[in-house]
Symmetry: C2
């Protein structure tokens, strides 16, 4: 091990150990105490705006070309937005302390579960400084300490933001050591962080597919993963043509760059000749490029609409842009089979007026969110009523789909006896 | 890749793909259909007793000395017990299909969560043939297909048991392919199985610490881990001496070889001179070897009781035998700190008549199960009212402590609209 790596290893161990120690205190804090600390952080973010923007300007000035500068750059509005988001988290209900599944056993033992923080959450993310403030607030609200490791291109911005957070915490009952920023930019350190089971209770990767894949492949700390969304909408034989057009248009066009945006539309043969020209007309104004299978292409051509022929790569592709694959299917079964083969388990929708088809679709499609007669763009913590969103999970363990504050907690079993021994 | 590895790789991929296909059918089956299949399996296990025992005799005859033959060997009673256990699983409530967290959003969307199977569960275990039948029943009940990979020393037993399971399923509506046994004994195959994310939704290791550690280190499929229990009981200053003696005796002696058995007892200084001779007298009949810190050793010597001096290795050690570490502490804080340092997050208890001490212990000790005035040996699915127990989780993600059938499921978000699009 080189001396440099050794020093950086020490930074990780020291900061993770300090976070663990802080987590013991954090777990016992009242909701009020945590909320006051969050409000103090919001004020400190505003008070440090000049320092944060200056640090960010330095980061932007030396950012390599591969970095999405728009996501790295902070402005007055963005810093104000960060502060407002922290205040919004303060206003949410605190899941910690909830008692559930309580029972009395025949031997008199009172058994229940109590919701508690994880302890220490590790967050690995890219050059997006707003994530620093966002996840720190979510973790503190749920009584978790946090070890942050952001993209090195945002290091100065992150330092300035965490300095503000620490200044906010300094006047509160939350220990400053509850929020730790790893300053080393050594990649070997991330590898070690992913395996730091003695200090980290869970790892949350926030970012693109490469980051998430690397986390899954290397972590021995349990991971809450988020991931790609290859989203289908199936327009059933019985669909209302106008409703189907509105929903599919929205699912693609509202925000094409997010994970719940439509990628492929499947349409039943019996309605395709009517509906395909309708959606093509709706999309023509945007415009959306349609990649059509041969049958859809023929029907579109008959209606005088040009499209691109779909290739094998179009099925199961997440476009994140104004492109949609289009395919004609002969039945609900064919639609479900196509989704099973090419979906990523994120968000899938059917447009139908047939209750039986709706019910089969909801039952048989295996995805985090299944929709009837609504746009897949609704897959979102706020839209589902969760308040803050920690992310959208595409795994099945612990949490699936939009994750709220509750998903940043675990539980302990509490057993109260009067001297019981087990026979 | 050698030809042999290639062939074995194919076995894994073929069987895992078949399990995935079966999981689609399984997820839609009614509780009645699954229960009838389980009852048919129980009958088939009884009908195949001779074949199962003959296969097991072959396994036992060639088992290497390192294998715990008592755990490998089947008898008439054990086979009958396996069949009874399958019937017991049939009688439990089915968690699949439960609807929860249902809300209506301001835009009219009806949003709820629906409990669904994981899909395919991979189980990696040691040379314990009863696990084969046990986990297959738990998985089928929860609508999951299962890929089993047991210790190679039990292969013939496992083949015979799975043959019986398949024969039971043959007359049912559950596809036989829902239960897959990997016959290859190549260790490289286990490594690949742990990374088979396209087919396996979760991996459950069942066995000793080495197996679990290897699973955690190598799996990219999400893991539900179970683990070691280093369990403490703290006898508070205010404890009832007789109750404390009964509870601590039971926690150590009832079954010393299981993970919830007491390893270390901590006793408050103010009660130690009275209580230590009492527990020593109670344990003397067993006998339990006491490994005492200097202060406890002095107090025991004054009462004429011999003990072994504790060494640094005794703190945090899981004995799984009739040995207990004993330590005098000066305060509740010292007890909690000791548990924080040396506990494994499994089961921890306090004996006290002081509500404030009880409350602090329950709040501040970070473990899957925290007890007041009861034996840690109660940490068990049946004792907590779960019916069947899938295992005892020592991780914080998804499930903590005893896991019931519900912990073998996940959920999907179901969103029912009337044409809503997102603004």
């Amino acid at each position: 091990m080189s001396l440099e790596t050794e020093i950086k290893t020490d930074e990780l161990l020291e900061k993770a150990a300090a976070a663990k120690a802080a987590s013991v205190v954090l777990a016992q804090l009242s909701t009020d105490t945590k909320n006051r600390a969050l409000e103090a952080i919001a004020r400190a973010i505003r008070a440090h705006e000049a320092q944060i923007l200056a640090a960010n300007a330095n980061d932007c000035a030396i950012a390599p070309p591969r970095i999405e500068i728009d996501r790295l750059r902070l402005t007055h509005e963005r810093v104000a937005g960060m502060a407002r988001d922290v205040e919004a988290v303060a206003k949410l209900a605190d899941p910690v302390g909830e008692v559930f599944d309580a029972t009395s056993r025949p031997n008199g033992l009172k058994v229940s579960k109590r919701r508690v923080p994880f302890g220490v959450v590790g967050v690995v993310y890219e050059a997006r400084p707003n994530v620093t403030c966002d996840v720190a607030a979510l973790c503190l609200k749920t009584g978790n300490a946090v070890v942050l490791r952001g993209g090195k291109e945002a290091l100065e911005s992150n330092r300035a933001i965490v300095a503000a957070i620490h200044q906010g915490l300094a006047g509160s009952d939350v220990p400053e050591s509850a929020v730790q920023l790893i300053a080393s930019t050594d990649r070997a350190l991330v590898q070690r962080m992913l395996k730091l089971r003695q200090y980290l209770d869970v790892i949350v990767p926030r970012g693109g597919q490469g980051l998430i894949q690397a986390t899954i492949e290397n972590a021995t700390v349990p991971v809450i993963e988020t991931g790609a969304g290859v989203c289908h909408t199936y327009v059933d034989a019985s669909a209302d043509v106008e409703m189907a057009t509105r929903i599919v248009h929205n699912a693609k066009v509202r925000r094409p760059t997010i994970c719940n945006a439509l990628d492929t539309v499947l349409v039943h043969r019996s309605i395709a000749a009517t509906w395909l020209p309708a959606i093509a007309a709706s999309w023509a104004h945007v415009p959306v490029e349609m990649r059509a299978d041969p049958e859809a292409a023929r029907l579109l051509a008959s209606a005088g609409v040009a499209c691109t022929p779909a290739t094998a790569e179009d099925w199961g592709k997440e476009y994140l842009s104004l492109v949609a694959a289009v395919k004609v299917v002969g039945s609900l079964d064919e639609a479900i089979d196509h989704i099973r083969m090419f979906g990523s388990g994120h968000s899938e929708a059917i447009v139908t007026s047939d209750d039986k088809a709706a019910s089969r679709f909801l039952n048989e499609v295996d995805a985090a969110a299944v929709f009837v007669n609504a746009s897949t763009q609704f897959t979102d913590g706020a839209e589902f009523g969760l308040g803050a969103e920690v992310g959208i999970s595409t795994q099945k363990l612990h949490a699936r789909g939009p994750m709220g504050l509750r998903e940043l907690t675990t539980y302990k079993w509490v057993i109260e006896g009067t001297g019981q021994t087990r026979p």
